[in-house]
């Protein structure tokens, strides 16, 4: 559906994106995820036609659109702040593109009302000024305004970033529902990994203008392809080579002690996991514990590593700081990366091969 081929974007002598290749399938919810300034928005704007790439081609439906202006690419966009026109009513905002296309007024009105209904905006809301709407309603106006032109692709540029946490969760859900209802190919930009994991069919993780990994949320999380992806997504503890050696001693040496090793916090436990005989017990001392109600976060020092882990507060008795503890780790959960290249090594290839 969408293909970015060898895209290079420069601003003066600053190269924002050196070389980008991406493919997005039809109907997919595809997310560009990365920290501030990683090039994800630049990639989206290149796709939207607001930025001319220095090199490379953009294809939509097999057709090169690289030189086409934004409005000829059949892409709709929802902006970071929605970019609703404050001097117009909701109806006028949604109808804007139709009126630019010189659709007949009656036809525009029909289309506006139809799309408004589908995104759950009432007829009385259509007459309101955009400033009178809540954040969630504004978002739906922005989506409706983009969708009424029947684009092939919907681009969303951090549309939830300027909302408070509670509303963000609620709108995330609504947005995802709208997307699956319309079935439209969607490219979503965010720096919020939680959002990306929860909403996407596939994610591309960006770092310094380069795509580090493309994959489903689960593969990105469980089998992070590079050290950057591993540290950017989720929460993990750094493991020392001592710790790896200890694991190898118990399990027959499948891990590389020279690699940079990480363990996700939820993958370690203080009790023997049921039914998993390959979990290795490692002795340590509790350094700290912080209580969070649902769970407690522990830091246990073993073999030079500060292993962080979560313990469910289910009413049981748990060790206190200063006390001894046994940490159970499955070597297959250890994520390992080459210290020079940052690429995944050994164990991860194994993990990636798991279903």
């Amino acid at each position: 559906m969408i293909r970015l081929e060898n895209i290079e974007v420069t601003f003066g002598d600053f190269t924002a994106i050196p070389q980008l290749n991406l493919e997005v399938e039809r109907g997919e919810f595809f997310t560009l995820l990365g920290p501030s300034g990683c090039g994800k928005t630049t990639a989206l704007r290149t796709l939207a036609g607001f930025i001319d790439p220095a090199a490379g081609e953009v294809f939509v439906d097999g057709k090169a659109v690289t030189r086409l202006p934004s409005d000829k690419r059949q892409v709709g966009m929802v902006f970071q702040n929605y970019a609703l026109f404050p001097s117009m009513t909701v109806w006028e905002n949604i109808a804007f593109g139709l009126r630019v296309r010189k659709e007949k007024t009656a036809e525009s009105d029909r289309m506006v009302r139809e799309i408004a209904e589908r995104v759950d905006l009432s007829a009385s809301q259509l007459r309101k000024n955009v400033a009178e709407l809540s954040g969630g309603q504004q978002q739906r106006v922005a989506v409706a305004r983009a969708l009424v032109l029947q684009p092939k692709i919907l681009l969303l540029d951090e549309p939830l970033s300027n909302l408070d946490a509670k509303l963000r969760h609620q709108l995330r859900q609504q947005l995802k529902e709208l997307q699956s209802e319309f079935g439209i190919t969607t490219v979503y930009v965010t720096h919020d990994q939680d959002e990306a994991l929860a909403m996407s069919d596939r994610i591309a993780v960006f770092n310094k203008g380069v795509v580090e990994q493309v994959g489903t949320p689960q593969s990105i999380y469980d089998a992070s392809a590079t050290e950057f992806v591993c540290t950017f997504i989720g929460d993990s503890s750094v493991l020392t080579s001592d710790f790896i050696a200890e694991l190898n001693r118990h399990s027959g040496g499948i891990l590389d002690p020279g690699a940079n090793s990480y363990l996700r916090v939820e993958k370690a436990s203080l009790t023997q996991p049921a039914g998993n005989s390959d979990a290795v017990p490692v002795q340590g001392v509790v350094v700290s514990r912080s209580y969070h109600g649902l769970h407690s976060r522990y830091t246990v020092r073993c073999h030079g590593s500060d292993v962080r882990l979560l313990v469910r507060e289910d009413g049981g008795v748990h060790p206190e700081p200063g006390g001894a503890a046994t940490v159970y780790v499955r070597p297959v959960h250890v994520l390992q990366y080459d210290p020079q290249t940052g690429e995944a090594v050994g164990n991860l290839a194994l993990a990636a091969s798991r279903p």
């Binding site: 994800k40 939207a48 607001f50 409005d71 702040n81 026109f85």
Partner: protein, 596 residues
């Protein structure tokens, strides 16, 4: 801030002292003079009389001037908007080559205006003007008086008053969220559609306010019609002036001033009403800075470029000629023909060393400096009290202090003249009319509203915990004011004083009514020179005064605004390449950075 009851407020001796002085000042100089104009007009002998109105209706000149004023006001509202919007768009919205240079050209009205500008245009395009002299050599049969009357006044005032557009409209334009423009582009809107449907509607409230200000400027115009209007085009304010000077027609002057005042109040009321209802606040929390738009149509682009540079020439030609001819000898000024060796420093030496040349300059500087310092110094306490205590009493004081803002200066001046031309108990039985004090009073008065607003805002911006911290450590109110608040507000106060000083330096509209006959400030001398009072020497003196005024004003503006303007303007003013970098840099999109 919560309301303070009046009773607890007046318990403080400090508040009481300020209150007494303030009440006296407001009563003596803001309320009584203007009430007196009304009384003089409608109750000349203690009983209601329609005589002034009858006189007005039977005076053809006066009626014509009324009509002319409204004509000028209406025409000016249109022309200033056309020119003003255009120059704002080419300097801030469209990608125009050399936009920075254009901006400087259009901004020349920041450093010279009023009588100085009117005089400048007359010396260049008037019957004895430099350009007219040059043209006269080429076309001996031409009408030497071509630049006078309604059109000349309209042209001069149009180019003199686009300052408001450069300030307010340009600022409103910066508030337009660039994402809305991209959204419109994404939906297929053309450059013209975006401008018409998205950008201009956003500017509508500001444009409306600026239009009213232009209308009022036209209505109350004094110097331009006087200097360039000629016999056939006179407006209200020059009429008021004429009628004021003869005691038998003072009631007529008063009535005209009242009409002008009522019209002004009505327009301002409409403006406040519209302002309250019509501002479009951007609905977004994170908006992105405006990027300059390329005009894609090649012919349209060329036309806009040509028009922009043509306007640039109109704006800068008078300034350039004044600067050049300020060095020229009298022969060059008379014929318009200039050569390199007719340029000397003689004019400057004469103005700066001869008492007659230097005197008006010194008088203006003394008056302006005194008025600026008194206004700011006095209002420091008042602004603080009004900002700290909110109740009906302070609200009344604040409204009264805004009287000079809603009334035209001609009315204020006339009020002072007729109220203090006989011993008056309000000022200890003294006569003020004809003394040097009355102009100072007027200067201070007209600067009150602006000074008060700015000072109040400055006090409001001081973190209130600083004051509370001082109080908790045992400091008294006055001590806190002196040691904590004042140092924080002082830079703003200095800036306000500087702007006031600038503004009064070339004042004409107030001085023409009130100045002492032997202590004439600069504006009056310049005006006299346009009538040929001092011959060619007067003309070259005026050029020198103008250059010196521009230097002083420019310097003050730079000191006050220079640094902030530079910071504000840079994203919009930069040439295309770095601009792309700064505004399209992906880092800027990320909320962490944009919030920071």
């Amino acid at each position: 801030m919560k309301a303070t009851p009046v009773r607890s407020m007046v318990r403080s001796p400090f508040v009481l002292a300020v209150g007494v002085v303030l009440t006296w000042f407001i009563a003596a100089f803001l309320v009584w003079p203007n009430a007196n104009v009304l009384i003089e007009t409608f109750f000349p002998d203690g009983r209601f009389s329609g005589r002034a109105a009858e006189k007005l209706l039977s005076s053809e000149r006066a009626m014509k001037s009324l009509g002319n004023s409204f004509l000028l006001a209406a025409a000016l509202s249109v022309t200033v908007n056309v020119v003003g919007i255009f120059i704002v768009l080419v300097t801030h919205y469209f990608r125009i080559r050399g936009a920075r240079i254009l901006f400087l050209g259009y901004a020349t009205t920041f450093i010279y205006g009023g009588i100085v500008l009117a005089a400048g245009y007359k010396f260049i395009y008037g019957d004895k003007g430099i350009v007219t002299a040059l043209l006269g050599n080429l076309f001996p049969g031409m009408d030497r008086n071509w630049f006078s009357g309604f059109l000349a006044v309209l042209v001069v005032m149009t180019f003199a008053t686009t300052t408001n557009h450069m300030l307010f409209v340009a600022n409103a334009l910066k508030g337009v969220d660039h994402q809305t423009i991209e959204a419109a582009k994404n939906m297929g809107a053309s450059t013209w559609t975006i401008l018409r449907r998205i950008v201009l509607p956003m500017l509508k409230p500001t444009l409306f306010a600026v239009t009213i200000l232009s209308f009022l400027t036209g209505l109350g115009a004094l110097s331009a019609p006087q200097v360039l209007g000629g016999r056939e085009f006179q407006t209200i304010t020059p009429m008021i002036l004429t009628f004021t000077n003869s005691p038998t027609s003072r009631d007529l002057a008063a009535l005209l001033a009242v009409i002008l005042g009522v019209a002004t109040i009505l327009m301002l009321a409409v403006m406040t009403r519209m302002e309250r209802g019509g501002t479009y606040f951007s609905v977004s929390k994170v908006s992105s800075a405006l990027e300059k738009q390329k005009i894609t149509h090649p012919v349209g682009n060329a036309i806009v470029h040509v028009a922009a540079y043509l306007l640039f020439a109109i704006y800068t030609l008078p300034v350039a000629l004044i600067v050049i001819y300020s060095f020229a000898d009298s022969a060059a000024i008379q014929t318009g023909q200039i050569s390199f060796d007719s340029l000397t420093l003689d004019n400057y030496v004469r103005v700066l060393t001869q008492p007659s040349g230097l005197r008006p300059f010194v008088i203006s500087i003394v008056y302006s400096a005194l008025a600026a310092v008194i206004a700011v110094g006095g209002l420091l306490f008042v602004a603080r009290l009004l900002q700290k205590h909110r109740n009906w009493l302070t609200a009344v004081f604040e409204y009264l202090l805004h009287i000079p803002w809603i009334l035209p200066s001609a009315l204020l001046a006339l009020g002072l003249i007729i109220s203090y031309d006989h011993p008056n108990p309000l000022v200890g039985g003294a006569v003020l009319t004809g003394t040097t004090v009355i102009l100072l009073v007027a200067f201070v008065t007209v600067k009150i509203p602006f000074t008060l607003r700015m000072l109040k805002a400055s006090f409001a911006s001081v973190n209130s915990s600083l004051e509370e911290a001082g109080a908790i450590m045992g400091a008294r109110t006055l001590y806190i004011f002196r040691r904590i608040l004042l140092p924080l507000v002082l830079p703003t106060a200095a800036a306000i004083a500087a702007l006031n000083f600038n503004n009064l330096l070339d004042d004409y509209d107030t001085a023409i009514f009130l100045a002492h006959p032997l202590v004439q400030p600069l504006g009056l001398v310049i005006k006299a020179n346009t009538d040929g009072a001092e011959g060619v020497e007067g003309v070259s003196n005026t050029f020198v005064y103008t250059v010196l005024l521009m230097v002083i004003t420019g310097l003050t503006m730079y000191l006050v605004y220079g640094r902030t303007r530079k910071r504000d303007a840079s994203p919009a003013q930069k040439d295309p390449a770095p601009e792309d970098l700064s505004s399209k840099n992906p880092a800027q999109k990320d909320p962490v950075l944009s919030e920071a």
